[in-house]
């Protein structure tokens, strides 16, 4: 008997239950209820976000597939497409960091290769509590080794990403994994179950009891009982996934199948009903044919299991044997478990009895959408007036502290655990503004980056979201790439809280505005709500994954100073903007004030000018100004230079020293040019309506910053480098 307690366990409201009864014309049995509970969960059904996500621009000349499929697809010319998407695995990664993160990688890889694309790059956006806490360190170590263990084994390079630290992620880390694949445009596959009489094949790992209700778990707040949820987390097997990847790509390449869908969230339930619903067909499944690795599993468990490394294929009866032969080559079973039928119903049997008989449309397409109450965010907590914050006496010491702050410090400790070079396409390795991958056999290259500053978004969701898009595009511009498309992962708190929905609504609006200005379509993404543990919400954290295209791989820029004696040029305007900065947080312990303002049109002009200058060969190096402002950017350019090159800059500005050095005004880029090319560069800037000032030159072994003739900062590059380089490893000291 279905009662309130059972509905609560399934995260369904009484209204939702009444709707289910109406749609299917009967009281559901327990298995059917389980199916609705996962398919109508926030994670699968997007019930709180759908009405807002419609605001994103989704069209453009390159768009082959927008939102609604496993991943977005963009045309990059020459008969090739890129297939890409980002997904969150936040909840599982807190409960069981290694497997949570590993299966996050596994899941996003399947989303990409299920469309016929070979995954060529993974990037991760990670957020943890500060590493001086042992629990945070253990979560971080687990997550990083999970990503490393899975990605390295399967042979897809992890080429970039970002890591931020803030106490708001103490009990709720964020693990967002982005993957991009490359495919031939005429060999894209979709989750279709077309043609009555076609066979449904189950391939990959056997079904076990792991991960049951994973999607439902990701759709509720966490309390103190999260320990008990560990069995909801799946266990990954990257070797199995490698076999599955190769076998699936082979059957697709040989045109042996009609459609394919991975079994991710909501497992067999989701893949069977979605494939049928997309083709307006029905599906018959015999659960006795499903390979199982445990005895005595119930239909409920088989259907809701989220065991990893599984796929569902549809093939014409004449090709079943050929498909099975390919899977046998890769030592995988591929049993037929059902058939496509007319009629639009899912008919699932177990031990000769029909255990599920429901219309697929109701399950897949009729999940209610909620326009939840919204409380617009108020103004950010004001920062104290600058006059009350003295300019520190020793700005060099402040810079060292900033360089050692975990968010800014060197992340090599993380990315050297990732194989970032396998597949031999990686031209710019992690640590650059954006990852750059060549395309074998073509002069073109791909660039990609993930960005999102949760503190900015908390202080002002709309501005923070606009900045996230702008900064991602700026990172691409710094390597010489033009943005072509966007995916996003929207990490927010409990959508049933009006203030969280207010943040969400504003952030979505900000992303939509910025994407329109840059003329880039959103091709998909993921929403992760309920990032609240024990009642505390994380900073609202939209993470933007933006893909860029480079016409000629020979025309890229890198962040490191190229040579001594080059001119250092600052593109963009400095303003007195210290709100939400890493400086205010690190030095004064304040997370307050309005984040920096952003003029999207000016930003676009600056970026276009930069890309054209890189293509014209006028740029020796380029690096974006972000957390820590100008001083940190200068130091990073020195660190990235081969042999580490210092610089001396002389600034003229009405701003106070700390705002000038550490302010985070947007749209700024640090560029170096050969002396001979400087005039041409500055003239071109003026013609583009871009502010560009020569502020100094590279060389020497020191970082020297003068302001109005006074030396305000002087450090050896070596000293600064050690602060930046040694910080993160020092938290994880292993005696060897």
């Amino acid at each position: 008997m279905i009662d309130k307690a059972l509905l609560d366990q399934h995260n369904l409201t009484e209204d939702e239950y009444r709707l289910i009864v109406e749609l299917i014309g009967k009281e559901p049995n327990l298995t059917e209820l389980g199916i609705f509970s996962v398919m109508w969960s926030e994670h699968c059904g997007y019930k709180s976000s759908r009405v807002h996500l419609k605001k994103f621009p989704t069209e453009g000349p390159r768009v082959v597939q927008g939102p609604g499929e496993n991943a977005g697809i963009l045309d990059i010319g020459d008969g090739q497409v890129v297939v890409f998407k980002i997904e969150s695995h936040n909840h599982p990664s807190y409960i069981e960091p290694y497997q949570g993160a590993a299966t996050g990688v596994g899941g996003i890889l399947r989303d990409i290769f299920t469309m016929g694309a070979r995954p060529i790059a993974v990037l991760d956006s990670l957020r943890f509590g500060p590493p001086d806490d042992a629990k945070n360190r253990s979560v971080m170590e687990g997550v990083v080794s999970g990503i490393s263990g899975y990605g390295n084994s399967i042979g897809v390079p992890t080429v970039g990403g970002e890591v931020y630290f803030d106490p708001c992620y103490n009990l709720n880390p964020l693990v967002n994994v982005f993957c991009l694949g490359l495919a031939d445009k005429d060999k894209i596959f979709y989750a279709k179950a077309e043609g009555a009489g076609n066979k449904v094949l189950y391939v990959g790992a056997k079904t076990g009891r792991d991960g049951i209700h994973g999607a439902t778990m990701a759709s509720a707040e966490f309390g103190k009982e999260t320990e008990h949820k560990r069995p909801n987390v799946q266990v990954g097997d990257p070797f199995k996934e490698k076999l599955l990847l190769e076998a699936c790509l082979e059957v697709m390449d040989r045109g042996l199948i009609v459609g394919i869908q991975d079994m991710g969230a909501a497992g067999l339930t989701c893949s069977t009903t979605e494939m049928a619903a997309k083709s307006h067909m029905g599906i018959v499944v015999d659960l006795d044919q499903v390979p199982q690795r445990e005895m005595g599993m119930t239909p409920y468990e088989i259907l809701l299991s989220e065991s990893q490394e599984r796929m569902l294929l549809v093939a014409t009866p004449g090709k079943v044997a050929a498909v099975q032969a390919v899977f046998a080559k890769w030592d995988l079973d591929a049993p037929v478990i059902g058939e496509v039928v007319e009629g639009g119903r899912a008919l699932i049997s177990f031990k000769g009895e029909v255990v599920v008989d429901i219309p697929v449309d109701a399950v897949v397409n009729l999940c209610p959408a909620y326009d939840r109450p919204i409380l617009r965010p108020g103004p950010p907590p004001p920062a104290p007036p600058l006059e009350s914050l003295p300019v520190p006496d020793d700005l060099g010491a402040v810079l060292l502290k900033l360089l050692a702050s975990p968010t800014i410090a060197d992340k090599e400790w993380v990315f050297r655990q990732y194989d970032h070079m396998v597949q031999t396409n990686t031209v710019l390795v992690p640590g650059a503004d954006a990852a750059v991958l060549r395309i074998k056999g073509s002069p073109k290259a791909l660039a990609m980056t993930l960005d999102g500053n949760g503190l900015y978004t908390r202080l002002d969701p709309r501005t923070g979201a606009r900045i996230a898009v702008a900064e991602a595009c700026r990172n691409l511009a710094c390597v010489g790439a033009r943005p072509i498309g966007v995916t996003n992962c929207l990490n927010f708190g409990n959508p049933e809280k009006p203030e969280v929905m207010g943040q969400f609504e504003q952030a979505v609006a900000g992303i939509a505005e910025a994407c329109r200005t840059f003329g880039i379509p959103v091709t998909g993404g993921n929403v992760s709500f309920y990032n609240d543990t024990e009642g505390l919400s994380i900073h609202p954290t939209p993470v933007l994954g933006i893909v860029g295209l480079i016409d000629d791989i020979r025309e890229i820029a890198r962040p490191g100073f190229r040579a001594a004696g080059d001119a250092v040029v600052l593109i963009g305007d400095d303003r007195e903007e210290l709100g939400g900065t890493e400086y205010l947080k690190t030095h004064y312990g304040l997370e307050a004030g309005a984040p920096p303002a952003i003029d999207l049109e000016q930003e676009k002009r600056n970026q276009e000018f930069l890309i054209e200058s890189i293509e014209a060969g006028l740029v020796a190096s380029a690096h974006d100004l972000s957390e820590g402002g100008l001083a940190v950017a200068l130091a990073e350019c020195a660190f990235h230079a081969r042999g580490r090159i210092g610089c001396r800059v002389d600034l003229e500005s009405p701003l106070r020293d700390d705002a000038l050095l550490f302010g985070e005004s947007q749209s700024r880029i640090l560029v170096t040019c050969r002396k001979a090319g400087l005039d041409a560069f500055l003239k071109s800037a003026a013609a583009h309506g871009v502010t560009a000032r020569a502020i100094g030159r590279t060389g020497g072994s020191e970082l020297v910053i003068q302001h109005a003739g006074r030396t305000v900062l002087q450090l050896t590059v070596r000293q600064a480098f050690r602060a930046w380089k040694d910080s993160l490893p020092s938290f994880f000291q292993v005696k060897t």
């Binding site: 084994s153 042979g155 070797f239 655990q417 194989d419 070079m421 396998v422 292993v734």
Partner: protein, 237 residues
């Protein structure tokens, strides 16, 4: 000369090796499937990097039983040239074609980074295009690259000039810091006593094109080509 790249189901540097040999070195190259019994008449077998059979057990431990490896073993015993890179090196150790074993890296983490290695012996078929003491910059990417062998074996390997590469710093100095994975004697690559089998942890195929940051890995392939294409080179077994 013709190269053959072995494909285990979990190999993931197989196409990288193929690309480097076929397109960067411009030599005929074929893929050799692990379930086959035929080496297709290749002059040199390449065991590429990856996780041959998942490597949940000891790395390379299952690969040695694959059908093709019986052919490779016979080929090597007959004097055929074999090079094992990373996981390929681990498989050669398990096969018994090279002495020693691999432990986990000393920091117990996977390591992916460029390293410097010094040519210890330039009078081998794998290094003759270089010179003794030359420093190469080549990436590593492994969890189990911490070379170990009992003292007596190690002494023999050293005495016979079987150490081909050692980890070093940019100036060619062997230091603890440069020996990132903790290998005994900072060993990065060894050959067998007969001189026709090489195992190395660094990835020369990742350093075969300037666009990727280094061309130093070409030295290994150029040496093989020099050795096997010179007039009077030993005929295949």
């Amino acid at each position: 000369m013709k190269f053959g790249v072995v494909q285990f189901p979990g190999s993931n540097c197989d196409f990288d090796a193929y690309h480097a040999l076929r397109h960067a070195m411009k030599r005929p190259t074929v893929m050799l499937w692990h379930k086959d019994h035929d080496l297709q008449g290749v002059d040199c077998v390449v065991l590429p990097g990856g996780f041959a059979y998942g490597d949940y057990l000891r790395v390379g431990a299952i690969a040695r039983f694959s059908p093709l490896m019986q052919q490779v073993k016979a080929f090597a015993r007959g004097g055929g040239h074999v090079i094992g890179i990373c996981n390929g090196f681990q498989v050669l150790l398990e096969l018994g074609l090279l002495p020693g074993a691999m432990l986990r890296n000393k920091n117990l983490k996977f390591l992916c980074q460029p390293v410097h290695i010094r040519i210890e012996n330039a009078r081998t078929d794998f290094t003759r295009a270089g010179r003794k003491g030359q420093v190469l910059r080549v990436p590593i990417a492994h969890f189990d690259g911490n070379y170990y062998a009992p003292a007596r074996t190690l002494n023999e390997v050293e005495a016979n000039g079987e150490v081909v590469f050692r980890y070093c710093d940019a100036d060619g100095k062997v230091t603890d810091e440069a020996n990132v994975n903790g290998s005994l004697h900072a060993i990065a690559g060894i050959r067998n006593a007969a001189g026709n089998v090489l195992g190395m942890m660094p990835h020369p195929e990742r350093a075969a094109e300037a666009l990727l940051g280094s061309t130093d890995g070409r030295t290994v392939f150029e040496s093989l080509i020099l050795s096997l294409e010179r007039p009077g080179a030993k005929a295949r077994p």
